[in-house]
């Protein structure tokens, strides 16, 4: 790969590039999908290719190909340069990159049990065992159980002498039970719907989930929700389980702190951000004093953990919110200098055929010593405990959000009680986070995240991590819409 990368970079420079970087990526994937005991899909995928990004006359160009031959490397480099020259015809500000030392070294996800070495029959058996338990619960309409594994080997080379080799292994598994009665369709999932959150780990993560042990109670709760009362509407105290809180962090903390959004470069698709740079300068109060949020690319097990980002910037932990005050962004080599900082290393690309964009790494809501999640419930006289995300939406500046969860439990006198179905809640981002009066301690702190964070044109998916412990919020609007 070194020869191929060197050739691409040499060709780009000879044709006029002032800077170039090239990534050669090979991705292996394996998936198993089971529906109601039926092994619906067992698949293996392999994709490899090269992508070269060049700066010519201060403008970007990028080209990519699945062909890893030397002549194709020349063609792709030349195409990238031609594209950059076309970009330069509609350019108002030349691109400037911050300085960083050349990146050199290797990185590999620490795993105990290689998921690709575990026999397929065993993996199918593990999933079927859990699926069987769930679908045999009376009243369950259908079940879905999934497993996914991904291994990506990525080399990065740049004209400044950078050369890194990284290998990432991510696995995920999950189960969901669905119960249907007329127009009512209720779902419970563990650890999350659509295959569960991935983790940077080996098959030991799947074993540790104990899907079979969770399947029965999960399915029973899905059926019970059919006859549960509709979640009430009004202003409530709510406690968010980590299975919902991570999504709240993702949408209302992670995305608005992406500095490219702030500068408008995602405006035509995902939108911009209310966290404009004047709010960084003024020390904007994002949340209550309890809110500490860090983008940590070094967090063990996170889907956003790496050695270097896709610009060759070393992994680091970047504070975004400290004691409730907005203090930082997710940044790149191009955007960080515009606010007088160095890149925080958040540029990530979805494979060989996409450019790196500013993406979340592991955006974590740090735990607070003092109250466990159970203590938070015990200290709540009247409220709702919401778990397991079912729906999410937020406006194009990341202010007005609305979430639905699979289940709400009534809290009365410090105890979780009866179920409510179809819970929703809504709010304005900074008002919501300012209303937080309790964050759980380490005892419930768990690394979750999503393997399908969408951004960019053409579309890119990202594996991003979110660790959190659960939290309580006061005076939140619950129960939205007509039911």
């Amino acid at each position: 790969m070194r020869d191929l990368s060197d050739r691409s970079l040499d060709t780009a420079v000879q044709l006029g590039a002032s800077y170039a970087d090239v990534r050669v990526v090979r991705r292996l994937e394996e998936s198993i999908a089971i529906k109601s005991g039926r092994v619906e899909g067992v698949a293996s995928g392999e994709s490899e290719g090269q992508g070269i990004r060049v700066l010519v006359d201060g403008a970007w160009g990028f080209a990519s190909s699945s062909d890893l031959s030397a002549p194709e490397a020349d063609r792709v480099a030349a195409e990238a340069v031609r594209i950059a020259r076309a970009s330069a015809t509609a350019l108002r500000n030349r691109v400037r990159l911050d300085d960083r030392p050349p990146a050199r070294g290797t990185y590999e996800t620490v795993i105990q049990e290689d998921p690709f070495a575990v026999p397929l029959e065993q993996k199918i058996g593990d999933l079927l065992a859990a699926d069987d338990i769930a679908r045999n619960v009376k009243g369950v309409a259908f079940t879905e159980t999934r497993y996914d594994a991904q291994r990506e080997t990525r080399t990065f080379a740049a004209t400044d002498g950078s050369w890194t080799e990284q290998t990432f292994t991510h696995v995920g598994a999950g189960i969901e039970a669905n119960a249907i009665d007329g127009d009512e369709h209720q779902r419970r999932s563990y650890p999350d719907a659509d295959g569960g959150p991935f983790k940077a780990a080996g098959y030991e993560f799947v074993r540790g989930l104990d899907l079979a042990g969770r399947a029965g109670p999960l399915a029973e709760e899905a059926v019970a929700l059919l006859s549960a009362p509709q979640c009430p509407s009004g202003r409530f105290t709510i406690v968010l389980d980590p299975s919902q809180l991570y999504m709240q962090v993702h949408e209302s903390c992670g995305h608005p702190t992406e500095l490219d959004r702030v500068f408008g470069t995602e405006a035509s698709y995902a939108g911009t951000s209310f966290l404009t740079t004047d709010k960084l300068d003024e020390g904007f109060r994002y949340g209550s004093d309890l809110i500490d949020i860090v983008a940590d690319a070094t967090a063990p097990g996170g889907m956003g953990t790496f050695g270097w980002d896709d610009e060759g910037v070393a992994a680091q932990a970047v504070p975004l919110v400290r004691d409730g005050i907005f203090v930082g962004y997710l940044t790149s080599r191009e955007t960080a200098p515009r606010i007088g900082r160095s890149s925080g290393g958040a540029m990530r690309a979805d494979g060989w055929n996409r450019i790196p964009l500013i993406r979340m790494t592991n955006v974590n809501l740090l735990p607070k010593p003092g109250m466990s999640l159970d203590d938070i419930v015990t200290s709540t006289d009247d409220g709702l405990y919401l778990a397991s995300n079912r729906s999410w939406s937020i406006d194009d500046r990341r202010l007005n959000f609305q979430f639905a969860t699979e289940v709400a439990y009534e809290i009365k006198g410090g105890k979780k009680g009866r179920l409510f179905k179809n819970p929703t809640y809504t709010g304005i981002t900074y008002e919501f986070w300012r209303s937080c009066d309790a964050v759980g301690d380490e005892s419930s702190y768990v690394m979750l995240g999503t393997p399908n964070c969408g951004k960019g044109e053409p579309g890119q998916g990202a594996h991003v991590g979110h660790a959190c412990s659960g939290a309580r919020f006061r005076d939140v609007q619950v129960g939205v819409g007509k039911w």
């Binding site: 990519s64 249907i180 035509s268 729906s391």
Partner: protein, 448 residues
């Protein structure tokens, strides 16, 4: 790999290799893609990309055991490994009791309107020309332009061991722009089609710029039930989400769909079909199982008529596939990829004039089902929301959140526009008119 790749020949080779490796049935879906996209923000090009890729999805069955493997390594060694991998997966998988087998050949009619040599040969310089035309419109209006201009060509072949030999070439071009003004204004416009020359970049730029100017200094209004006119850009979302939650045969079989033949789900003004032969809906000749596309009437004058089917779901219900299969493995089921809503008789002025007091909505943002079976969806308005009084647009309003049943929206449709636009939805080409709907439920507001 794409430049020299002959999709049909590669598929035939892979089928033979998998049969030699022990497969009883084999299907190869081969795609050779060239995709180009020029992106702009703050009235300059900031991202500009190209991709060349060729890939194959190989599905094999040994008895009732099925395995799928995919790869973009399509040289001889790559194909051999792909075939062996798919066969090994099938051998180690579990039996599917109701495995329907792979489809038999059906007559396929090629659709010349699906391909444009102009789009296939589009250059970065031509896309930059289009972007500069959009930016010029923004400059003239004193606003900033953001957006993308993309062109792609896909050569797709499906072959299987039953004799299917299907091949087609398709092109898609799309130019979209959001324009924003310093005074809070924001506007959107889009053009899409098979032929890039059908996209008038300057006109798209002017449309978005005018709307960005017209939305300056929006005022707040209270959420609640409003009559609305949804422009075509918003109607795309209506159709896409209804397809997602209901118009698939698998959704019906799993009882998670609202669809039921003969059930009234919309006003008499609403007719929706999936028609892959419609030139305005970015046509396709066949699906990802190599089955010829059929026109399927989903809603006829408000009455649900049918859903779309693939080979597996059709076999379960004693039907024939309508040519709506997706690449395997596919746990979501068949899907409509070429949705068309019939035009009505109302001009734009009549649509808005009939509102009395209501809202004109340009487009939606970040919509997501809240209750799939009732098709209750939440989302935001974006890039141009206006108050209408006495049938006339009186000014811009800040964006609103809605939590609305899209089925109730079909039932509340009181007028349908006579003009339609070809647009690129999340799931394929869409041909849609604007519509007027009573009783749209807005449930929240934001600050812009």
């Amino acid at each position: 790999m794409s430049a020299g790749l002959e999709p049909l020949a590669a598929g035939v080779r892979a089928v033979a290799l998998a049969e030699a490796a022990g497969a009883d049935e084999v299907e190869a879906v081969v795609s050779a893609d060239e995709a180009r996209l020029t992106r702009f923000a703050n009235s300059e090009i900031h991202q500009n990309v190209a991709e060349t890729n060729g890939s194959m999805n190989l599905r094999v069955a040994i008895g009732r055991r099925v395995g799928v493997a995919s790869s973009n390594r399509l040289d001889d060694e790559g194909l051999r490994r792909l075939a062996e991998t798919a066969v090994a997966i099938a051998r180690n998988s579990a039996e599917l009791e109701d495995w329907a087998g792979l489809p038999e050949p059906t007559p396929i009619t090629q659709i010349p309107a699906a391909f444009s040599s102009g789009t296939a040969g589009s250059t970065p310089e031509q896309r930059a020309d289009g972007v500069r035309a959009v930016i010029a419109a923004a400059d003239a209006a004193g606003v900033r332009a953001f957006g993308s201009f993309s062109t792609s060509v896909e050569r797709l072949a499906v072959t299987n061991s039953n004799g299917i030999r299907a091949e087609q070439a398709r092109t898609v071009a799309q130019l979209l722009t959001v324009m924003m003004a310093a005074d809070g204004g924001s506007g959107y416009a889009e053009g899409a089609g098979v032929d890039v020359s059908s996209i008038d970049a300057a006109a798209i730029g002017r449309e978005a710029a005018e709307k960005a100017r017209a939305t300056a200094n929006p005022v707040s209004i209270d959420p609640g039930d409003w009559s609305v006119v949804l422009e075509e850009y918003a109607v795309v979302d209506l159709l896409a989400l209804l397809a997602y939650v209901g118009f698939s045969a698998l959704a019906v079989q799993e009882e998670r769909s609202f669809a039921e033949p003969g059930k009234v789900i919309g006003s008499e003004l609403v007719t929706i079909v999936d028609d892959a032969t419609e030139p305005g809906a970015m046509p396709m000749a066949f699906d990802y199982e190599g089955v010829a596309k059929q026109r399927v009437v989903l809603v006829e004058r408000g009455v649900c008529r049918d859903v779309v089917w693939d080979t597996q779901t059709a076999a379960r219900s004693g039907r024939q596939s309508t040519g709506h299969g997706l690449p395997a493995p596919n746990s979501y089921g068949p899907f409509p990829l070429n949705m068309v809503m019939s035009p009505g008789e109302a001009g734009r002025d009549e649509l808005i004039g009939g509102l009395g007091r209501g809202l004109l909505v340009t487009r939606f943002h970040y919509t997501n089902p809240v209750h799939p079976k009732l098709a209750i969806v939440t989302g935001m308005t974006r890039d141009g929301t206006f108050l209408v009084e006495d049938g006339k647009v009186v000014g811009p309003v800040r964006n609103l959140r809605f939590t609305q049943s899209y089925l109730a929206a079909l039932a509340g449709t009181t007028a349908v526009g006579r003009d339609r636009r070809t647009l690129r939805g999340d799931f394929g080409g869409v041909l849609v008119p604007a519509v007027r709907i009573d009783g749209w439920t807005f449930t929240g507001a934001t600050e812009h």
